[in-house]
């Protein structure tokens, strides 16, 4: 019996099916890896400083630029001899806190704007969404720096400023979801029964939009951590001596030739955290709503 397989002819059907299954598995594994990375990082930053013998602020001139793995400073020391690992853990507290807090605020703003715009539609809805479009016209780093330049930078203001530049995506996602849900039977039924607009919006419709909100918020944590790193690296975010992953890279460029680990290590922590949230967000998108997947 002749067997023909089409385009590409060399791959057997069995192999193709196997690799499809593999695709799902790998996808899932990436999300698990991301979750694992986040848990490890959070635990490390929360508990680590209590266990680790070095303090993040203790200056130890004898160990300036200690190389990683060469002394008790396992990840080396910076220009003032401060233990890098201790600093990375404390910086992680700051960066992760800013990330989570900015996510929470931007999710609340975005959900609120998106719900109002999606529910009322018409002039209010389109005006709100055009406003979202207009904010998105500003490159986020420019807007972020302009706002940050006007405020006294501290943990709280930086979080607010980041949230102010990161809520638009959530608003778009929620608006689209609410707009499509608004015409469904249960919303109309609630309306006929005399429920108030606020009740329909926040009790009937919003719970049905939780899945995309969760996905968008997870990706927003990644975004917020990155934005904090950018603005702190550029000198307008978290101010020394409080370390953050971004501001630890502040002066690292000067020492690139002599102490490259000062630049590499904080970056790796940022990448690990951001990748973690991106993987989890992507996995959640696959799991909660496969139609949203662009891949």
């Amino acid at each position: 019996m002749a067997v023909a397989t089409e385009t590409p002819p060399r791959v057997s059907p069995a192999r193709r099916a196997r690799s499809r299954a593999l695709a799902r598995f790998v996808r899932h594994r990436l999300a698990l890896f991301g979750l694992g990375a986040i848990i490890v990082l959070v635990l490390l930053c929360a508990v680590g400083p209590y266990i680790w013998p070095y303090n993040d602020l203790r200056i130890d001139i004898r160990h300036r630029f200690a190389e990683p793995f060469m002394s008790a400073h396992i990840l080396g020391a910076d220009a003032l001899g401060r233990d890098l690992f201790a600093r990375l853990m404390i910086a992680g507290r700051v960066s992760l806190t800013v990330g989570f807090a900015a996510m929470a605020i931007s999710t609340v703003i975005g959900t609120f704007v998106g719900t109002i715009a999606g529910y009322f539609g018409g002039a209010i809805g389109s005006m709100l969404m055009r406003f979202v479009d207009a904010v998105l016209c500003f490159p986020s780093i420019f807007l972020l720096l302009a706002l940050a330049a006007f405020v006294q930078p501290n943990l709280f203001t930086i979080t607010l400023v980041i949230a102010a530049t990161a809520w638009m995506e959530v608003a778009r996602v929620v608006e689209a979801q609410i707009r499509s849900l608004r015409e469904r039977d249960f919303a109309l039924a609630a309306k006929v029964l005399g429920a108030s607009d606020a009740h329909i919006m926040f009790h009937e419709l919003l719970p049905n939009a939780v899945a995309p909100i969760v996905v968008a918020s997870t990706l927003n944590v990644a975004r917020a951590i990155l934005l904090e790193a950018y603005v702190s690296f550029l000198g307008y975010g978290i101010q020394p001596p409080t370390p953050s992953w971004g501001n630890m890279l502040n002066n690292a460029q000067e020492y690139l030739a002599t102490a490259p680990w000062l630049a590499l290590l904080p970056g790796l922590f940022i990448i690990l955290a951001v990748t973690g949230f991106n993987f989890v967000g992507d996995g959640l998108r696959d799991a909660l709503d496969p139609r949203l997947d662009i891949t």
Binding site: M1, A2, V3, A4, T5, E6, T7, P8, P9, S12, P13, A14, R16, A17
Partner: protein, 345 residues
């Protein structure tokens, strides 16, 4: 394996024991199970059946265009008489040789004229491409030939149309363009997969008329796939009825309409509305039940679960063989004789 089996001397295309299986999440889908038939030069054979019966898969398998992503296995033989008279097994051809057959010896038109043309290429480019691919013709003369083809398929102002894009044309006009592409290399066989289904009734009639005229002119054979028995009556010389990936009845068009033997064919005819003036009222019957799950076909006759003549222990036991019940009339039913003699119920 590639040694040509005895190919019917009159046949242009001979399909032997063609089977197609897809691997899906639900299990292995048996889309086609041992389909065999032949098509002679110049004749029109209609493939009839409900959706999911395997008509389209048959045509795609002949062209080797079955969709690749769901791991798809095609088995059997498809013999095509080459220009030199020597039979070629299409399923065993290297893909490059098969590509040269497509659009040249065998051409195909599809159900959806609205989406079957590339939206960003002009009509002229799309017709000329087919000519250039197979004839290596220079651009200018391919363009000229494309204009002639548009004229042939009855498109007004053919030469001006060459530079327009598909979205400028109606569905009927686009289907004419598809036919022009199909005819560009004088194929010996045209496979028309529900070419009129998506069109208005009046446009349908025009397209059928066009196909008939062109066939007379070029002498090509046509495999016409449809679920519309009215269309079959208008165009076919012979009819093959398909059900659950098998041919269940095969006969000359008149024979089939006058004396259908397979209970499924009978039911299919009764489910078609007919316009009758002054005649007795015909009650429209829907066929009870639905097409069987292709991942889990019944062990016996696939139609048995829906058949009012089904006999326990016989119809559901073994899959019936295709039996010759008259000259060129074949039926896949163990009880055809009893039913014909009127002792069916």
């Amino acid at each position: 394996m590639t040694q040509p089996r005895q190919m019917d001397p009159g046949a242009l295309l001979q399909v032997d024991d063609l089977s197609v299986r897809f691997r899906s999440d639900a299990g292995v889908v048996s889309a086609l199970n041992g389909v065999s038939f032949a098509v002679r030069s110049g004749e029109t054979v209609a493939l009839v059946g409900e959706s999911g019966s395997g008509k389209s898969v048959t045509s795609l398998a002949i062209m080797r265009l079955t969709p690749s992503p769901p791991g798809c296995q095609v088995g059997g033989h498809v013999w095509l008489r080459g220009t030199d008279g020597v039979p070629l097994d299409l399923l065993a051809l290297p893909s490059e040789a098969m590509r040269k057959v497509r659009g040249d010896r065998i051409a195909m038109i599809f159900q959806e004229p609205m989406t079957s043309l590339n939206p960003v290429l002009t009509i002229g480019e799309q017709i000329a491409e087919a000519i250039a691919v197979h004839r290596g013709t220079a651009r200018a003369s391919a363009w000229d030939a494309a204009g002639d083809l548009l004229e042939l398929v009855g498109i007004p102002e053919p030469r001006a149309r060459l530079a327009t894009y598909p979205h400028h044309l109606s569905g009927g006009m686009r289907q004419r363009v598809m036919i022009a592409i199909a005819l560009s290399c004088d194929p010996a066989l045209l496979i028309a997969d529900e070419p009129t289904t998506a069109l208005d009734v009046t446009v349908q009639a025009q397209i059928l008329d066009l196909l008939r005229r062109l066939q007379k002119r070029t002498g090509m054979a046509v495999i016409f796939i449809t679920h519309n028995l009215g269309v079959v009556a208008e165009i076919a010389d012979r009819v093959m009825v398909m059900y659950a990936g098998r041919i269940v009845e095969q006969a000359a068009m008149r024979t089939l309409f006058q004396a259908p033997r397979m209970p499924y064919t009978v039911k299919l005819m009764h489910s078609v509305p007919r316009l009758q003036i002054g005649g007795e009222r015909v009650v429209l019957e829907a066929i009870p039940g639905s097409v069987p799950d292709p991942t889990n076909l019944p062990p016996g006759c696939a139609f048995a679960p829906r058949c009012s003549h089904a006999a326990e222990g016989r119809c559901d036991a073994v899959s019936p063989a295709l039996e010759e019940v008259g000259a060129g009339h074949f039926v896949r039913c163990v009880r055809w004789r009893e039913i014909a003699d009127g002792v069916g119920r």
